[in-house]
Amino acid sequence: MKYVRRAVYLGLAVYTLLALFRPKKMYVDRFMHDMHYVEWALLQPFPTMYSSESILESSVKGHDSVSYPYHHPMKHLVNHTGGQPSDSVHYKLTVRYRGSKSVKKYTIFKDSLFTNVD
C-alpha cells in the first residue's frame, strides 16, 4: 500500500505539472477529444470540468444557426438523444483557453456523430 500511495502522490504531481505547463492539452484538446481515447481517459480524473470557455454552434438546413455556451460541449454532442430531425445537424465547436483556440466541425445524422464533415 506504501507504493500505491507513492504512485498517487506521483499522479497528483504529474497532473499539476500538466496543468501548469501543458494547458492546451488539459483544457482544449481533452475537451475536443483531440487525442486517443486511452490518453483522454487518463486525463479525466483531472478536475477542470467547468473551466474551459466553450461555444457550440448548430445549424439545420433551412434554419438559422444557433450558438450556445457549454462547459463541456462534446458531452452535449455525444449524449444528444431523441428528437432528431430528418436532416443532418451541423455543429461547430470552439474551445478557448488562454491563448489556445480549437475549432472542429461535427455532424449528427441518424443517431451517429461524424467528425469534420462539411
Binding site: R5, Y15, A19, P45, M49, Y50, K75, H80
Partner: protein, 316 residues
C-alpha cells in the same frame, strides 16, 4: 440494528459516508435515470466495450460501498468511479471526480487514516478548478453567465479566489481548513440555486468534517458517572449504553470518587454529569460534554467548537 448503529457512531468515516449517500440520493432524479435508459450517439471516439457498459446499478452500489469498511469495497468503488469518468453518458461531471478521489482516499489511507492525503485531494480538486479559470473570459465574469441557476451576486474574482483558498487549504491547521471549507461550500451551495450543487458539495463537506473528526478524536478512556434517579440523566445513560462508545465507560454516580470540593458537590446534588479520564482528571457539567463530544467519532468534528466555548467561559 444496535450493532450497526454503534459501529456508525464509533467511526469518523461514517460522516463522509452519510453525506456521500445524500449526494447519491440527490442524483437519483438527475443522473441515475439516464444511466439506465439512455444510449449515446454512435461515434468513433468511445470504444464499444465502454459504451455498452450499463452503469445504473454500479452507480447506486457506490452509496453502499462507501459504508463497507473493507479495502476491497473501496477498490470496487474506485473502479466504478473510474469507469463512470470515461463513460460516454456521464464523463465530465465534477461530482464523479469528487467521488473518484473520495474512494481513492478510502482505498489508500492507512490505519491512521492519512488525513493529510485526504486534505491534499480536496485541495487538488479545487486547484484544478481554479487553474482552469485563469482566463480573461472567467476574470471578466463572461463565463459565469454560462452557469445556469447562478445568483447574480456571484462575481468571478470571488469564485476564483474561493477556489484558490481551497487549493491551499491543506496547508492550514485542520480546524481552520475545515471552517474555510464550510464557508466556501456554503457559499457555493447558496450561489447556485439548483439543488444539484449538493451532489458536489455534500461529499466534500463530508470529507472536511471527517478529517477534522479524525484529528479531534480523543483516544484516552473516560468514565461517565450518571445519577440514575434523574430522568434526563437516565435517558442519556440509556443512549450511551445503546451506542457503546469505545472510549466511554458508564457508571452510576454512587461509584463516583468522593471529593471535598464544594463546587463539585453542588454539581453532584444538581444531578449533573461527572466524568473522569484515565489520568484521574475530573470533569463536571459542560466540561463533561466537551470530553464526551471529543470521544464520539461521528460528532468529534464539533469538539473544537466545544473547547472554544469552554475557553471563552473559563476566561470570564
Amino acid at each position: 440494528m444496535e450493532r450497526i448503529l454503534s459501529r456508525l457512531v464509533n467511526d469518523p468515516l461514517s460522516i463522509v459516508a452519510v453525506l456521500f449517500l445524500g449526494a447519491v440520493f440527490v442524483n437519483l432524479g438527475e443522473l441515475v435515470p439516464g444511466l439506465f435508459e439512455d444510449t449515446p450517439v454512435k461515434n468513433s471516439f468511445f470504444p464499444r466495450y465502454i459504451t455498452e457498459l450499463k452503469m445504473g446499478f454500479p452507480y447506486l452500489i457506490l452509496g453502499v460501498l462507501v459504508f463497507v469498511r473493507l479495502k476491497l469495497a473501496y477498490f470496487v468503488g474506485l473502479v466504478i468511479c473510474a469507469i463512470l469518468l470515461i463513460h460516454p453518458l456521464v464523463f465530465g461531471r465534477a461530482d464523479l471526480v469528487v467521488a473518484f478521489y473520495l474512494f481513492l482516499w478510502l482505498f489508500v489511507k492507512d490505519k491512521n487514516h492519512s488525513v493529510f492525503l485526504g486534505r491534499l485531494f480536496v485541495s487538488f480538486i479545487f486547484f484544478g478548478a481554479a487553474m482552469g479559470k485563469l482566463t480573461p473570459g472567467w476574470w471578466s465574469g463572461e463565463q459565469l453567465q454560462n452557469i445556469v441557476h447562478l445568483r447574480k451576486i456571484s462575481t468571478a474574482p470571488l469564485v476564483i479566489m474561493g477556489e484558490f483558498l481551497m487549493a491551499v487549504s491543506f496547508l492550514l491547521p485542520s480546524g481552520i481548513a475545515c471552517l474555510v471549507t464550510i464557508i466556501i461550500l456554503a457559499g457555493m451551495s447558496w450561489a447556485i440555486t439548483d439543488l444539484s450543487i449538493l451532489m458536489l458539495t455534500l461529499p466534500i463537506l463530508g470529507m472536511a468534517l471527517t478529517f477534522l473528526a479524525i484529528d479531534s478524536l480523543e483516544k484516552s478512556r473516560l468514565t461517565l458517572y450518571f445519577d440514575e434517579d434523574k430522568g434526563t440523566a437516565s435517558l442519556v445513560y440509556q443512549l450511551f449504553d445503546l451506542l457503546k462508545i469505545d472510549t466511554i465507560k458508564l457508571e452510576t454516580i454512587k461509584k463516583a470518587p468522593v471529593t471535598d470540593n464544594p463546587e463539585n458537590v453542588m454539581s453532584q446534588k444538581g444531578g449533573v454529569l461527572q466524568a473522569q479520564n484515565e489520568y484521574g482528571t475530573r470533569f463536571y457539567g459542560f466540561d463533561c460534554w466537551v470530553e464526551i463530544v471529543s470521544r464520539v467519532a461521528m460528532i468529534a468534528f464539533l469538539s473544537p467548537l466545544f473547547k472554544l466555548k469552554r475557553q471563552i467561559f473559563s476566561r470570564k
